[in-house]
């Protein structure tokens, strides 16, 4: 019930606008089991407002993870900027577990220095404290780095806030002409950078494990082909343009191979290409559709979609140096539509599009237990992608007939829309860690 209320409020807020949504999510996002944390606005001596509100960015990050419940600004009983100014008694009364205080200063050389301390309210001890210097343009990244430090200190798990997402947008001009754009942004949807655009469809962006290249499908020539583009240098290589399908690229965990779907031998089959030699090895052999390969983290098998049993379901098959290893076995048995698998970084879960009561939602299958949990509750959810620490899933949905990106914590408790500017957004892919 509480989750429902939170979701409704988030829905309403999403329509108001990103800045306001972020602010108010902290007021309404009460989640059972999330650790209460106070993030005090950073001290700032400038006459004008600081270039970025670091505390607001950190609070939005931590909230989105589902693990933390940041206090609303109005509930902050005091606004200290360093540990020595903190009266812990104030915060104990609010049942806050942790407190973050900090100071932002503009240095003589024009850069900015952010200092912060993460404090344990019960013991009054400092758990972490850092100073990070960056140019103004990188202050959002600084905030995400602080979020990562807080998250890792308190959960023991690496934070994934200072990462990126890739996605495709489609904007139709007044004459109906569409423009497709492949873009990369911060994991919270800010700092969008378009790396490729085309009047023809673009789909299926997939990150290389080093986070420097994207594989994708473009119809630029009027038919599908797979390209790999270096995000920084723009260097682009056309990798596959066989007759028929050239779709669903997925880098192997070591980055040396690419799984892909081709129909050159009759119907949709999965192949693995050695990226150094360009040698192709066919993995599936069936008269059904086989597509959407996703690698297990050990690089030894693929999870894929096949309708060989009469409806689209997920299967797993071993992959050797030059072909399949063993036979494919079926993973999903709930419902008549399970497709577009994505494997969690620890290899224990598979997220997918799961149809239930005519609605397409994001489901997560626990591979050991065989238990499928539905995480979302709208009608057109698709393209799930795990954060590199496995704690969140980004996916595409529709609101008012428009494509939007949503983030859900992997336990399904916290949902949030990402604030991206106008136009339909689709096919998010979460980057690996930066190093």
């Amino acid at each position: 019930m509480k989750r429902l209320i939170v979701s409704c409020l988030l829905l309403m807020l999403a329509a108001v606008g990103p800045a306001r949504a972020e602010l108010t999510i902290q007021v309404t996002g009460y989640v059972k089991g999330a650790s209460p944390i106070a993030i005090v606005p950073f001290g700032w001596k400038g006459a004008k407002a600081p270039p970025q509100d670091l505390a607001a960015i950190i609070a939005a990050d931590l909230h989105r993870s589902g693990r933390f419940q940041p206090l609303a600004d109005k509930d902050l009983v005091a606004k200290p900027h360093q540990a020595s100014q903190v009266d812990y008694g104030d915060w104990r009364k609010l049942d806050v577990d942790n407190l973050v205080v900090g100071q932002l200063d503009r240095l003589a050389d024009g850069r900015y220095q952010a200092q912060f301390q993460l404090l344990d309210v019960a013991t009054g001890k400092q758990l972490a404290g850092y100073s990070i210097t960056s140019p103004a343009a990188n202050l959002r990244q600084t905030a995400h780095q602080i979020s990562d430090i807080i998250y890792q200190t308190l959960t023991g798990e690496r934070g994934a806030f200072d990462t990126h997402i890739a996605y495709v947008t489609v904007v139709r001009a007044n004459n109906g002409k569409p423009t497709y754009r492949l873009a990369v942004a911060d994991a919270d949807g800010h700092n969008e950078q378009v790396i490729y655009d085309s009047p023809q469809p673009i789909l299926s962006p997939a990150w290389s494990p080093d986070g420097r290249r994207l594989a994708y499908v473009s119809f630029a020539t009027g038919r599908p082909a797979i390209y790999i583009q270096n995000i920084v240098t723009q260097k682009t290589e056309k990798l596959a343009a066989y007759p028929g399908l050239n779709n669903a690229p997925a880098f192997s965990p070591d980055g040396k191979r690419l799984a892909l779907t081709l129909s050159k031998d009759g119907n949709a089959e999965i192949y693995v290409m050695d990226l150094a030699t360009k040698a192709l090895h066919r993995i599936t052999h069936s008269s059904a559709i086989d597509t959407e390969a996703a690698w297990m983290p050990d690089g030894k098998s693929l999870v894929f979609t096949s309708d060989r049993g009469g409806s689209p379901q997920l299967y797993q098959i071993g992959v050797g140096a030059d072909g399949p290893r063993g036979r494919a076995h079926r993973l999903t048995f709930d419902g008549n539509y399970n497709a577009r698998a994505t494997v969690s970084p620890d290899g224990k879960k598979v997220a997918m599009i799961h149809r239930t009561n005519g609605a397409f939602r994001i489901g997560v299958l626990d591979l050991a237990q065989g238990y499928l949990q539905v995480l979302t509750d709208s009608r057109m959810d698709e393209s799930p992608s795990f954060s590199p620490n496995g704690s969140m899933i980004i996916y595409a949905s529709q609101k008012g007939g428009r494509g939007v990106l949503q983030v859900v914590s992997v336990d399904g408790r916290v949902h949030q829309s990402l604030s991206l500017r106008g136009g339909g957004v689709r096919e998010p892919a979460w980057s690996p860690f930066k190093n």
């Binding site: 009027g222 399908l245 669903a248 119907n267 577009r340 599009i353 689709r426």
Partner: protein
């Protein structure tokens, strides 16, 4: 490209209007050109002469017996070849039995006109996975292409492309739109 998109919008409108009026998924668009590739089609000549035939007036004339349509049968609304869009059930690539004979007629026409070629475009509705829909659109188009081959169309005359859910003709988000988008289109080019 804007020309092609206008055409696209017009085609969508024509289909929609035809369906609204006829109340069935009957006629597809006539004379639609394939514009997303480099090839330019040439199948529209003759349509205007055709329309003028058989008109009645006060003067006496010799009777014209039977149809006198002189253009391409692709543009003759009475020819099965004028139907070049075929619809499918959800997650199905099975050609409907009523369409099978029409597609076979296209296959025979291609066999008789080896200089013609056709792009067989497979499409799906927006639901479910984009990449699965790419494969589904491909399979729908292949199902149609197989019928063309059986009737003697040469493989080099036929190009199969799936656009999955990326090129809807109806932009709604309900079954009324979805049923129009689950389709295979035949797009002719070349000279007869």
């Amino acid at each position: 490209m804007s020309k092609s998109m206008n055409k696209f919008a017009v085609t969508a409108l024509v289909i929609w209007a035809a369906l609204s009026l006829a109340g069935c998924a009957g006629q597809g668009p006539w004379g639609k050109k394939y514009e997303s590739g480099a090839k330019q089609p040439g199948t529209e000549q003759g349509a205007q002469q055709g329309k003028g035939a058989g008109k009645e007036g006060e003067e006496r004339h010799g009777a014209e017996l039977g149809g006198t349509f002189k253009g391409s049968p692709l543009d003759n609304p009475d020819s099965p070849l004028s139907k070049r869009t075929f619809y499918f059930d959800f997650d199905s690539s099975q050609v409907k039995s009523a369409d099978r004979e029409i597609i076979a007629a296209h296959g025979r026409y291609l066999a008789d006109h080896p200089k013609l070629s056709v792009v067989v475009e497979g499409h799906t509705d927006e639901r479910g996975s984009r990449e699965y829909n790419m494969a589904l659109g491909q399979r729908r188009a292949e199902s149609v292409a197989q019928i063309l081959y059986l009737q003697g169309a040469a493989k080099k005359q036929v190009q199969v492309i799936s656009f999955g859910e990326e090129r809807p003709v109806a932009l709604g988000h309900d079954e009324a739109a979805w049923r129009l988008n689950r389709r295979v289109e035949l797009l002719y080019s070349g000279n007869e």
